[in-house]
């Protein structure tokens, strides 16, 4: 039976889709059969970041409505054997999702995969609620700024009270904090919250810190999840996060301001 993982935040644009693609790909890279499901109906970003947007035939809503089977709708990744994507519909609105339909699809995925990653839309309304409702674990994606931390806090409240686990009195959803778009220089200057500040306010386990990185933009333009760019800081940080998710102890990296190396200082260089 699969573990259902929701990637959520409350706030938009913090890196949920980037994270869903990276973590899902990372799990598949480590041999776990994984499906990534786009709950952001009407926007459809995940398939772009995964580089499979030209192969979308059927989507999540089609499966819910019975227009297609799950097998028909799942898009197999070209790079990895164990990786599948279920795209969101671009043409429907959010009301096309309903709890019975989502439950049906999730249960079917559960029987066939080891991990199901649910990429949540922004907000705390219906779409975000459906994305987290069936979750076993949650990755709460947060940027080091006050508004994002507040939205994450709010989302943590909903995870603890409005999920299936909460409503049926089962063990609560396991919560992980993923701090993304972290910029140590701006933290030093006091323009952003530091890791400790965010950990203190949200008081949940830190899964990882992903630095603000050019590599993310480059990767998403190419339709390659950034975790596959193992030379990049963001790719390595996501790799560490996946290892921690699987229970490994890995020290946190990329928390401090980089000192420019000797050659870089001489010749200048890329940031």
């Amino acid at each position: 039976m699969a573990k259902i993982l929701v990637v959520t935040s409350g706030k938009g644009g913090v890196g949920k889709t980037t994270t869903s693609a990276a973590i899902g790909t990372g799990l598949a890279l480590r041999g776990h059969k994984t499906a990534i499901v786009d709950f952001d109906v009407g926007l459809r970003n995940l398939d772009l970041i995964m580089g499979c947007e030209r192969r979308v035939v059927y989507d999540f809503i089609n499966v819910i409505n019975g227009d297609a089977t799950l097998t028909q709708a799942l898009i197999k990744d070209k790079r990895l054997e164990n990786l599948y994507v279920l795209a969101a519909s671009q043409t429907r609105d959010k009301d096309a999702l309903n709890i019975e339909g989502v439950e049906k699809v999730i249960n079917e995925l559960k029987a066939n995969f080891e991990y199901v990653i649910c990429d949540s839309p922004a907000g705390i309304e219906k779409g975000a609620h459906l994305a987290m409702y069936f979750a076993d674990e949650a990755i709460v994606v947060t940027n080091p700024e006050v508004s994002s931390v507040r939205d994450s806090d709010r989302m943590l409240g909903l995870l603890a009270s409005k999920s299936r686990r909460a409503e049926s009195g089962e063990a609560p959803i396991k919560e992980h904090l993923l701090l993304t778009r972290y910029n140590p220089e701006r933290v030093t200057k006091g323009e952003m919250l530091g890791v400790e500040d965010v950990e203190e306010i949200l008081s949940i386990r830190l899964l990882g810190v992903i630095p603000e990185s050019q590599a993310v933009l480059k990767a998403s333009n190419q339709g390659v999840p950034v975790i596959l760019d193992d030379q990049s800081d963001a790719g390595q940080a996501y790799s560490d996060a996946v290892d921690r998710l699987l229970g490994k102890e890995v020290a946190h990296r990329f928390l401090d301001v980089k000192k420019p190396g000797f050659l870089q200082r001489l010749f200048g260089g890329r940031e």
Partner: protein, 244 residues
């Protein structure tokens, strides 16, 4: 019996009795303008508490001789303040008729409410519930209270053993104790008990209030005891903040 007949016997519902805590707005006068003003000031004290609160409108305490009551206008007024009318409690025929016109359930006047649920089928109902104790046990919360969440200790004290986030709201008819950082709102003695107090390990609240007297973060931040362990008590209509 055929398959279909058998299936037809399968119950698709269950009747359940339940005791709900519900707000009753007992009208003693029929002056909608005054009600509007008074409700507004009540709501201001605990806006979250009133947001979408279910309500029974009790009309049975209205003076028998008063002017006619405009039930739709009364409900609209309550709605404006966040209260949503579920039913009215009334004895007068014109009130019952007005509710009937709106398809609104009518409860019998207070004191005459004890009616068995299924009069014929179950003569020996469950034993009567013991009377509600005047003081309920303290409400104890051990997990963080996040922004957007609200906890109300009705008729009781409230103890929170974890952090209270900005945007969270604590309400108690009695005292409030917070053993984590208090960063949200805390309203003690909300039914007007001036003896209620607030105790916290780290004062970082957005608002504190006792019996309707309040201070917001802007004032609290100027306190020398901001961030410190404090107790807050009301003397007269002044909120006193002292070190714990």
């Amino acid at each position: 019996m055929s398959q279909a007949d058998l299936l037809d016997q399968d119950p698709v519902f269950q009747l359940k009795g339940s005791m709900l805590a519900i707000t009753i707005l007992e009208l003693t006068g029929n002056d909608l303008e005054r009600l509007d003003r008074q409700l507004a000031s009540k709501v201001e004290q605990a806006p979250q508490f009133f947001a979408n609160a279910p309500l029974v409108l009790a009309l049975d305490k209205l003076p028998a001789t008063g002017s006619d009551l405009d039930l739709p206008a009364l409900m609209a007024l309550c709605r404006k303040h966040g209260l949503r009318t579920l039913a009215i409690r009334a004895g007068r025929d014109d009130h019952i008729a007005a509710a009937g016109a709106l398809d609104l359930p009518v409860l019998p006047p207070s004191g005459a409410r004890e009616r068995p649920l299924e009069p014929a089928a179950r003569p020996a109902a469950e034993p009567a519930r013991p009377a509600e104790p005047a003081h309920r046990p303290t409400r104890l919360i051990t997990t963080p209270i996040r922004g957007g969440q609200q906890v109300y200790a009705q008729g009781a004290d409230l103890i929170v053993m974890a952090a209270v986030s900005p945007g969270a709201e604590l309400l108690a008819d009695g005292h409030i104790h917070v053993y984590g950082p208090l960063r949200g709102r805390a309203l003690a003695g909300i039914k007007g008990n001036p003896e209620a107090r607030i105790f916290c390990q780290q004062l970082g609240a957005e608002m504190i209030s006792i019996a309707g007297q309040y201070k917001v973060a802007e004032d609290l931040r100027r306190e020398p005891l901001w961030g410190q362990p404090v107790q807050i008590a009301l003397s007269g209509d002044v909120l006193n903040i002292t070190r714990l």
